[in-house]
Amino acid sequence: MARKIKKLNRYTPFDVFNIALLAIIAFMAFYPFWNVLMISLNDPTDTLQGGITLWFRKFTLANYNHIFNQSAFVRAFFMSVARTLIGASTSVIFTAAFSYGLSKKWLIGQKLFMTLLVITMYVSGGLIPTFLNIKNLGLYQNFLVYILPALLNSYNVIIMVTYFRGLPAELEESVRIDGGNDLVIFFRIVLPVSMPVVATIALFNAVGQWNSWFDTMLYGGRKLMTMQMFLVELIQDADQVRKLMSSGSSIAASLAKLGYKPNVESIKATAMMITAIPIIMVYPFLQKYFVKGIMVGSLKG
């Protein structure tokens, strides 16, 4: 790259300004996250007094232990990993295939399908009819309930359709001339070239799968418990104990006597870290797909 060679190791004023501004933004984005991390590593009783900002006061791994030691945790963790991996990979291919077809204006029924898609973004049957539908399809408490409905997400489809429409026509023409059919074009040419958007959608889907718990609550139940739901329950329980402690009955008195402390804060913080850290580690792996557009130029000839 001519430009890079020229500017190697030389930072223009713009660059300096850019870097400084980015650093400030990064700090503002990072500080609360760091704060949560510190709280999760701090002794819960000590955290109660407040004032934990940049560093922990009484380091402990007890918060994490408390969660990891629960027997349901490991199973829930693997369930989450399973649905994230399977769900994200299947849905990104499915979405890409669907979007690719939809991006061609000459496809029979393209307008109809597009309209069908857009309508689903704005109208919904509601909680109960959706639930009944899932049940009637035999997906209640079935692992596939995490996969099948998630295969398409209208928002993602629109993003991909836009992207595919932006690809130059020459890309496909050369293959068509050589007699390739649409499938070959899609899998061998279009997909590899679209890695940035594919990686993006894969990431979005993965994050969506990893974070979702409402579907677990409605359709999964304890059999298909995911980590997110497990954590939500844990927090609800802690909250409930705290509420119980201010009621007027003997249980409240005995809870207090036994020193149950409102440590909802610590549990929430730890739960957030356990949720966030694995998925954050995924991004660097995907970053390599965000490479500059390749080989497009080679078709110009």
Partner: protein
């Protein structure tokens, strides 16, 4: 082309809708009455039974849906029925075995879908008897009434249900559609005491004012019992302790929350303890019309203008409150004796050293001006978690008789105390002595206790509270300082609100009904107005906000709510044989 497209689209949608619609058919078969089949009752005229459940003790199982289980009781229920001597005793007696399903998550979303799909099991437990889902199930004819089952299969059981419960919960035809557990009835405190507990007159330890020891000493008093001195003390804190908030207010809602300062001060300012504004003529008006409440808001407004309360305090959430409390950041708090002298004190000692004087000591109660004497009320409640028996149950006669056993004295002692002889014994004077191992576990690890013995929390929708308070209270080590303070600062001032006819009249509005929605909106308007009044800059603004609020709630229909409350109050008075409005001065 466009037209064809549109038509095609419409047809597709209709087709899809029909396809989906057909699957929503309600299982009409389930609504057939199965009760009538079992008319051919046992020919038990020959043997005389004390209770109907004894007639047939063959084994059976039934399923319970219960999302709102108390968190530590979950462990006891999750592990199933077979590993507990207490459960086995119950099975021996009745033949019955309970399978509890604790679904994940919030009852609200789960209940609606469960009902619509028809997947509700034999028994469902809801978090409150005001749950709109109970009404929906009843209206859709999906549940048996307890009364019907009792009359048909276990008539003797009716004697186990207190009249007050029937009065509060039966519908206009005298039928009980749900059973509310944890109803604190009129004599619970006396009955608990008879078993050896110390209910402190029925008021427990809540609603006591605590002041920080060092600031109180610096102020020069060792107790505070009137509002003017209390106010002085708050100003004193403001002036001399800038990093302390003089008084802990509330988290988000000025009126509610056990530890909100209003819970103690409402009586100080003369607001009625029923949270309504009763009139001498027997009618009930809404609390926003009460001049005593407005006085209270005025008082807070003055504190606000003088910087004793900061605006941040008005928006603090529970976490902020906890943080400040556990770092001794308040000059005065309203708390429960058992919290202040245990959890709080221990934490503060850990943080500041064992001989710190940043601890909290009880004061009060705080009496008002113009001769207003402070009062509190005996703990009473019409009930909490409530259960219904659904028509998906094939054996309602066995289930109702199972609960008959549970409601008997023997049943209650079993589910809350354990097995007689093994876990507890009854002394000559009627008090209960508990097995050493059990008592020591209860006093060191409550969760372990419930898990091992499968008592109390596992049964709470069917707990009679005198047994609960009596047995649990007697099992735990005798309280010390916290009981002394309750007896000194609460017991002498306790009145029985219910005896005056105020039996939780605010609970008369059906959950999910139009009136319930109106009330939500009215409460919201009042809460917003109250907060703004506290933060208002001058009297004119204060009065305007109040006037606007009154106009708004009248427009929303507060009169309808008042009507409902009045009717409920009158019927409570009737069943007690007193005149409405007589207790109002």
């Amino acid at each position: 082309m466009k037209k064809a497209l549109a038509i095609l689209l419409a047809v597709l949608m209709l087709l899809a809708m029909f396809a989906g619609c057909s699957s929503d058919k309600k299982a009409e078969t389930k609504t057939e009455t199965k009760t009538e089949e079992k008319k051919e009752e046992k020919k038990e005229e020959t043997v005389e039974y004390d209770w109907e459940y004894q007639m047939d003790t063959s084994p059976f199982e039934f399923d319970v849906w219960w999302p709102s289980v108390w968190s530590w009781a979950k462990a006891g229920l999750d592990s199933g029925w077979d590993d507990s001597p207490v459960y086995q005793y119950i099975t021996e007696k009745t033949g019955g075995k309970m399978n509890v399903e604790i679904p994940l998550g919030d009852e609200g979303e789960l209940a609606g879908t469960m009902i619509a799909a028809g997947t509700y099991p034999d028994v469902c437990v809801f978090g409150s008897f005001t749950s709109p889902y109970i009404v929906q199930m009843k209206d859709a004819n999906l549940i048996y009434s307890w009364t019907e089952l009792i009359n048909e299969h276990a008539p003797k059981m009716q004697t186990l249900i207190p009249d007050s419960m029937m009065a509060s919960h039966a519908d206009e035809n005298g039928e009980l559609w749900y059973y509310p557990g944890f109803a604190y009835h009129e004599t619970w405190a006396e009955e608990a005491e008879a078993m050896g507990a110390h209910p402190a007159g029925g008021a427990h330890g809540t609603n006591v004012i605590f002041c920080r020891k060092d600031t109180l000493e610096a102020f020069g008093k060792d107790d505070i019992s009137d509002i003017d001195t209390f106010t002085e003390y708050l100003y004193f804190c403001r002036d001399n302790y800038p990093d302390v908030d003089p008084v802990r207010l509330f988290a988000s809602n000025p009126r509610n929350g056990g530890e909100a300062i209003f819970t103690h001060l409402k009586a100080t300012f003369g607001c009625h303890l029923s949270d309504t504004y009763p009139q001498a003529d027997g009618s009930i008006k809404y609390y926003m019309y009460d001049p005593a409440y407005i006085d209270y808001l005025s008082w807070l407004n003055k504190l606000y203008k003088d910087g004793v309360i900061s605006s941040n305090q008005l928006t603090d959430d529970q976490t902020a409150l906890d943080t400040k409390t556990y770092s001794a950041g308040y000059g005065a708090i309203n708390s429960a004796t058992y919290t202040a002298y245990n959890t709080l004190e221990t934490t503060l000692k850990e943080s500041f050293g064992a001989d710190t004087d940043k601890l909290y000591v009880a004061v009060g109660p705080i009496n008002g001006n113009n001769g207003i004497k402070w009062q509190t009320y005996k703990l009473r409640s019409t009930g909490g978690q409530s259960s219904v028996i659904t028509k998906n149950c094939d054996i309602p006669e066995r289930v109702i008789r199972f609960f008959e056993f549970i409601f008997t004295d023997e049943g209650q002692m079993t589910i809350q105390g354990g097995i007689e002889g093994e876990h507890w014994t009854r002394n000559a004077d009627g008090t209960i002595s508990h097995d050493e191992a059990k008592a020591s576990l209860a006093n060191s690890d409550l969760e372990g206790f419930v898990t091992k013995y499968k008592l109390c929390g596992n049964w709470s929708p069917w707990c009679n509270t005198s047994y609960w308070e009596g047995l649990l209270g007697a099992c735990l080590t005798p309280p010390g300082r916290d009981l002394d303070e309750s007896e000194k600062r609460l017991q002498p001032y306790t009145i029985d609100l219910w005896a005056d006819g105020f039996c939780e009249i605010t609970a008369c509005i059906e959950g999910g009904s139009d009136l319930d929605v109106i009330r939500t909106k009215v409460n919201e308007a009042c809460m917003n107005a109250a907060m703004k009044m506290i933060a208002s800059a001058n009297e004119a603004e204060f009065n305007k906000i109040l006037a606007d609020c009154i106009t708004e709630i009248e427009g929303l229909g507060v009169a309808q709510i008042e009507e409902a409350y009045t009717a409920e109050y009158k019927s409570c008075c009737e069943s007690l044989g007193i005149t409405p409005g007589a207790s109002v001065k």
